[in-house]
């Protein structure tokens, strides 16, 4: 009995729908006579019989969804030989064994930046290219680097490290170590977004130190008096919103196609939030209309949603500026990547008690470092420094912030 199965009709089709049956049980068919029409994403195709014979059984009906390899029609063939021919299974070819590169070396090799010619040169001289220090743009290894590497006398510690590396890799190979994780889902989305931003936007990052001693003591006395806690982030967000009013260029977005820098009507601040699946940026909308307390409430609510992976689409849309408070984790400075197509992103780092000079005296103050990345197509360093100065002023002197509140 010849079993007619669904074959791959297009490139990479996995299933199809039975469109029309041209035959009934008992019908005699000739070689290449259409038996059944199947519709897939790509084509509707008549499937001809590979054998001549009598239809013995029709397993499917019109409208059925059939998977690749599923039997549709059974034909009693006139020629037994043909059956074996078309149902022949592929034997597995035995592979020649070849010397393998350790997987870890391959991984490192893929992260080396060098032109094919440079790589070839390294191979010619028997140099492991990943041991060469690149001096070109983005640490790219140049032909000169290879030459220098050749001329360099071999240092004994190099050899030691090389041996240890080999031992390590041999050890690792014997144990089932996970050498890769899938690049997909949120990770891939983040990747695409970051690449888009870095490719399109010429980033400049400006650093500043802000003295938050006064702000911290006010916050403490507020907590003490009211018994409620207030997150610093809420104050930061308010300070940003006020500053954006003075420097609306950072609340704009560049529409290159139309050749316009578009100023946004409202200030909606996205908060870069860490979640298990990866970075996510929920947005506090219309910050102008919110009190610091209300910002705090929304901040808490959105952070929780982000961490429990329950953000709705609307929570993530409409941002005009992004802030990132990485202070609780640590760090001195950073060069944050702008949340495309916004114009600026402001990162707040760890607050540290630092000896500083005030009125010619060394005193200990609480200093907060900030890093402000902006789109240099849209604004200049002058604007960025002025904007950051305004944020600094509001946070260093809370009275200024109070006065600016509407």
């Amino acid at each position: 009995m010849f079993e007619m199965k669904l074959t791959d009709l297009g490139e990479g089709i996995h299933e199809g729908t039975v469109d029309t049956l041209y035959v009934g049980v008992g019908d005699v068919v000739t070689v290449d006579q259409p038996v059944i029409a199947v519709q897939t994403d790509k084509v509707t195709a008549d499937l001809p019989s590979p054998v001549a014979g009598t239809i013995k059984d029709i397993v499917v009906s019109e409208g059925d969804v059939v998977s690749l390899g599923e039997v549709m029609v059974k034909i009693a063939s006139q020629n037994q030989e043909q059956e074996t021919l078309t149902t022949k299974t592929t034997e597995k070819a035995t592979a020649e064994s070849q010397t393998e590169l350790p997987a870890t070396r391959l991984f490192r090799l893929q992260n080396v930046k060098a032109a094919p010619f440079t790589r070839k040169l390294a191979r010619t001289y028997g140099i492991a290219i990943e041991t060469v220090t690149g001096t070109g743009k983005n640490n790219r290894i140049t032909i000169e680097d290879i030459r220098r590497h050749i001329e360099q006398p071999t240092r004994p510690e190099d050899e030691v490290t090389a041996t240890t590396a080999i031992e390590e890799t041999t050890l690792r190979e014997s144990a089932p170590v996970r050498t890769s994780i899938p690049y997909k889902g949120r990770r891939k989305q983040i990747g695409a977004k970051m690449t888009q931003s870095v490719k399109a936007i010429p980033h400049v990052t400006h650093f500043e130190r802000i003295d938050v001693t006064e702000l911290l003591s006010l916050k403490e006395s507020y907590s003490h008096q009211s018994g409620a806690s207030l997150s610093l982030s809420a104050v930061f967000i308010k300070a940003i919103a006020i500053s954006l009013h003075d420097f609306p260029i950072f609340n704009s977005k560049l529409d290159e196609e139309r050749g316009e820098i578009v100023f946004q009507d409202t200030v909606n601040i996205g908060m870069a939030t860490h979640a298990e699946e990866g970075l996510i940026v929920p947005v506090v909308k219309d910050v102008d209309a919110l009190s610091i307390q209300e910002i705090h409430n929304q901040f808490k609510q959105l952070t929780k949603k982000a961490q429990t992976n329950t953000c709705e689409l609307k929570d993530l849309q409409g941002g005009t500026f992004t802030m990132s408070n990485v202070g609780p984790i640590g760090g001195v400075y950073a060069t944050p990547i702008i949340n495309y197509p916004e114009t600026g992103i402001l990162s707040f780092h760890k607050i540290e008690d630092t000896p500083v000079v005030r009125d010619k005296e060394i005193v200990i103050r609480s200093l907060l470092n900030v890093s402000f990345s902006f789109d240099h197509r849209v604004a200049d360093g002058f604007h960025a420094v002025s904007f950051t100065n305004r944020v600094k002023e509001l946070l260093e002197h809370p009275m200024h912030l109070l006065v600016a509140l509407k």
Binding site: K42, V43, P50, T86, A93, A95, R119
Partner: protein, 364 residues
């Protein structure tokens, strides 16, 4: 003479290069040139070759639908253009086909079995019979034009009179390689025949969306080489034009661009559905200009169309095809490791890595 620039420009006649469509046999089967001698024996042989190609093509589609070969690019409708052109070549000449030019390669000498092997993804499906310079089909569009220019230029430098033909479609003329090939061929006077089968569709893009030029042949004008437009469904006209271009190239008078205007009835490949981008009822009209039908009409008018003879030929071809199918399906299992060879002389590190990964897959 005119007195002002604007009137000069107004009077300036638009360059109107006429590239008329050459026909030897009208669609109704009558002779286009009444005083010409028509070689009936040659035409009968063309008819059988076209029949063979068409039957092969239909069989290949069936094999694909039965899961016995991979994705296939059908050529039904283009037999005359391919067979007429390939028939004008001599042994030693170079043929650079695409994936749709099997009527040309089988006319020049490829066995049907070899072509089936190609579509089974086998490397031996690329190997021509000894002494025939047939290159493996070019799947990237228009790259083979440059190869053909290079090969024919090399023959010239070696003092040989061999020529090269590059097959391509209308879509290929939008590629940079097409223009580079024509320019180089023109500048170095290479013995190259640029043979375009204009079937009016680049996969799904109709020609009017692809170019503003009224013809493809006119693109030769810019390179100061001859451009000839011929009815691609008229096997005799194609043969004559091609013979002219080959002879010219052989004697050292440079390249020619031939536009054979034709039509493919079917899909671009078995993986697409032409009804989604083309009104298939046009096929009905086109069938009236079909290359086989036209030649049949001519041969009948000449009184040499012997139905019994054609039936016998059909039977013979069917047997030849069946044997070819049987042989390629009985062939030894292909070596899957072949796919990692032949692009680079030595495997590149990334290719080696892929090969190793593959080895693990097939042995586990």
């Amino acid at each position: 003479m005119t007195t002002s620039l604007s009137s000069y420009l107004d009077q300036l006649e638009r360059m109107d290069h006429d590239y008329p469509l050459l026909r030897m046999i009208q669609p109704d089967g009558s002779k286009a040139f009444t005083e010409e001698e028509y070689d009936v024996t040659l035409l009968l042989s063309f008819y059988k070759q076209m029949l063979r190609a068409r039957m092969f093509d239909r069989k290949a589609i069936n094999l694909q639908r039965q899961g016995r070969i991979g994705t296939y690019a059908p050529f039904e409708g283009q037999e005359a253009a391919q067979i007429g052109s390939a028939s004008a070549l001599q042994q030693g000449d170079w043929m650079f086909p695409t994936y749709r030019d099997h009527a040309a390669t089988m006319t020049y000498g490829h066995s049907l079995e070899t072509i089936f092997r190609y579509w089974k993804g086998r490397i031996d499906g690329c190997v021509p019979p000894a002494g025939l310079n047939i290159l493996p089909p070019s799947v990237p569009i228009a790259t083979q034009l440059l190869h053909a220019v290079g090969a024919s230029w090399a023959e010239r430098l070696k003092g040989q009179d061999r020529v090269a033909i590059a097959y391509f479609g209308d879509g290929a003329t939008s590629e940079g390689d097409f223009h580079e090939g024509l320019n180089f061929g023109s500048a170095f006077n290479t013995p190259t025949i640029f043979f375009c089968q204009n079937n009016h569709f680049a996969i799904s893009v109709p020609i009017h969306k692809q170019m503003k030029s009224r013809t493809i042949a006119q693109k030769a004008f810019a390179y100061d080489i001859e451009g000839i437009r011929v009815d691609g469904n008229d096997v005799l006209a194609v043969y004559k034009v091609m013979a002219y271009a080959v002879e010219k190239a052989r004697r050292g008078d440079g390249p020619t661009l031939i536009e054979a205007v034709t039509w493919r009835y079917g899909a671009h490949t078995t993986a697409d559905d032409p009804t989604k981008y083309r009104d298939q009822s046009i096929n009905e009209e086109r069938r009236d200009e079909d290359c086989l039908l036209r030649l049949e009409r001519f041969l009948r008018q000449e009184g040499v169309f012997d139905e019994q003879q054609i039936e016998d030929a059909t039977h013979e071809i069917a047997m030849e095809i069946d044997e070819a199918v049987e042989r390629f399906e009985r062939a030894e299992e292909p070596n899957p490791h072949d796919m990692f060879d032949h692009v680079f002389e030595d495997q590149t590190p990334s290719l080696r890595e892929q090969h190793q990964q593959f080895q693990k897959e097939v042995t586990s």
